[in-house]
């Protein structure tokens, strides 16, 4: 029976990535656990990852969602490098790219233009995020 269910219902895979220098990952842990409890498979990157490492993980793990958590304010330099890397490996089009953290409004618009699908700030609820992923995760 479980075999049949597996065939109907695709398991969504998410990368939760900490990129750059900020050293706090309590939030990333909370999100990883919430996504796990929602039935997703979560690959957690660990702290202090470079954009290259995030790209490597996103490509090899073939995740549906690349979640990037940045609190350091370096999103304008790091996120574009991740997006470029994903494009280089043909791994951009069929993936959601989400950014979590503190991103000023002006920067938000800029990141969206570059290809970030959604940005979740400090007030975002977990249900909102999970609902968004369920709806928007690319069919493939």
């Amino acid at each position: 029976m479980s075999v049949e269910r597996e065939q109907d219902e695709r398991t969504i895979r998410c990368l939760v990535a900490k990129v750059g220098l900020d050293g706090h990952d309590r939030g990333a842990h909370v999100i990883a656990r919430a996504l796990r409890d929602a039935g997703f498979e979560v690959i957690y990157s660990g702290l202090h990852r470079s954009p290259d490492e995030v790209v490597q993980a996103a490509v090899q793990e073939d995740v549906d969602v690349v979640g990037i958590s940045i609190l350091s304010g370096a999103h304008k330099t790091l996120v574009p490098r991740i997006l470029d890397g994903l494009r280089e490996y043909d791994a951009f089009d069929d993936r959601l790219v989400l950014v979590g953290g503190i991103v000023p409004d002006d920067d938000q618009a800029e990141l969206r233009e570059l290809g970030v699908d959604e940005i979740f700030g400090p007030g975002a609820s977990m249900d909102e995020m999970i609902g968004y992923i369920r709806e928007q995760a690319p069919d493939r």
């Binding site: 039935g39 690959i43 957690y44 043909d90």
Partner: protein
């Protein structure tokens, strides 16, 4: 041949990743993909690494991958983590410890979750190894927590199985228990700098001395030793070595690789490698036959109106489970009998 298969064979990482996803999801067409890849396999050396949680498997695998890369080889790693029995979700965290190979695409690291299915995981793992082998990886390492039969099945995918035993992992009786200690070709006492490591090595040594040498790899029940004449009587057993490592400081990694390579040589010398491959494919064919036959029977049940009607009758004591099975399988039996009568 499909585009995806071509792209994988051409060395495209995203295609390899997508093939493994298809395999994991049992997506439509995954069987054709695996079939097409089969003829391109048979070159990779497959190593299984298992042991209790916290034994240091990921850290050791990271260093092993780095060492193989230094020697000019390419590496694939499949790391299996458990999934939640409630939500089906999983946190796959072994990637964190692959720091030595960060940014090196020629170490292809893939996390897989158990997805709650016992038999299915070993099939999926075997198929994922096929994909990495066809991609051209020289070494494929399959890493899994050794907690039960499931893991024993998975490591059967490997040519050589390494079992990690952390220091102080219980008394002598723990070591006598059946399970993962029986499947090791190489034993590793990792964290050998900790107190109690010497004692653990000693206990392991005693345990291994009591172990019969013939057929030890044989979860499959095969007697590797003595199957060929040129193996020679003096050579006919594999004595699993015990290697001490401190993986986080890269100590003992060279010795570990030497032990793996010795076992590989042993397999080549005795014809064990070929026998293992035959056993593996036999097991795979049997599993697939069982899966497909199950599916056909389930479909036949549905056509007959599902299990519920039968259950009502069984509950009312109008019939019984054996009779139900006979009835459901009757057309199948007739059909197969008919075929064999026609000499097919």
């Amino acid at each position: 041949m499909s585009e995806l298969v071509e792209a994988l064979l051409a060395g495209k990482h995203s295609a390899l990743a997508r093939v493994i996803t298809k395999i994991e999801n049992r997506s439509p067409g995954y069987r054709d993909v695996v079939s097409a890849l089969h003829r391109h396999t048979g070159h990779a050396e497959v190593i299984g690494v298992t042991g209790s949680p916290g034994a240091g498997k990921s850290t050791l695998v990271d260093k092993v991958a780095a060492e193989y890369r230094d020697r000019g080889h390419t590496v694939g790693v499949i790391a299996i983590d458990p999934s939640s029995p409630y939500s089906g979700g999983a946190v796959l965290g072994d990637r964190i410890r692959m720091a030595s190979n960060a940014g090196d695409m020629d170490v292809f690291f893939r996390s897989m979750s158990a997805r709650g299915s016992l038999g299915g995981l070993s099939t999926a793992t075997t198929d994922a190894v096929t994909a990495l082998d066809a991609f051209g990886k020289d070494y494929v390492v399959v890493e899994t927590v050794g907690a039960g039969q499931n893991e024993v099945d998975i490591v059967r995918t490997a040519d050589t199985v390494a079992v990690l035993v952390p220091p102080g992992s219980g008394d002598d009786v723990q070591m006598l228990k059946a399970g993962i200690l029986e499947i090791g070709d190489v034993f590793v006492v990792n964290k050998a700098d900790l107190d109690g490591a010497d004692r653990t090595v000693q206990q392991l040594r005693e345990m291994l001395q009591g172990r019969s040498t013939a057929g030890h790899h044989g979860a499959s029940g095969t007697e590797v030793a003595g199957t060929t004449e040129d193996g020679g009587a003096a050579e006919d057993g594999w004595e699993p070595p015990i290697v001490e490592t401190v993986a986080n400081r890269s100590e003992g990694v060279g010795e570990f690789l030497a032990a793996l390579s010795d076992h590989g040589d042993y397999l080549d010398r005795t014809g064990g490698r070929e026998q293992q491959a035959r056993d593996r494919f036999a097991a795979e064919i049997r599993t697939l036959l069982r899966e497909d036959a199950n599916r056909m029977v389930a479909a036949e049940l549905d056509r007959g109106g599902g299990l519920d009607a039968y259950l009502d009758a069984v509950m009312a004591r109008e019939t019984d489970p054996y009779t139900v099975v006979d009835e459901v399988l009757e057309p199948l039996r007739d059909c197969l009998d008919g075929r064999s009568e026609h000499g097919e």
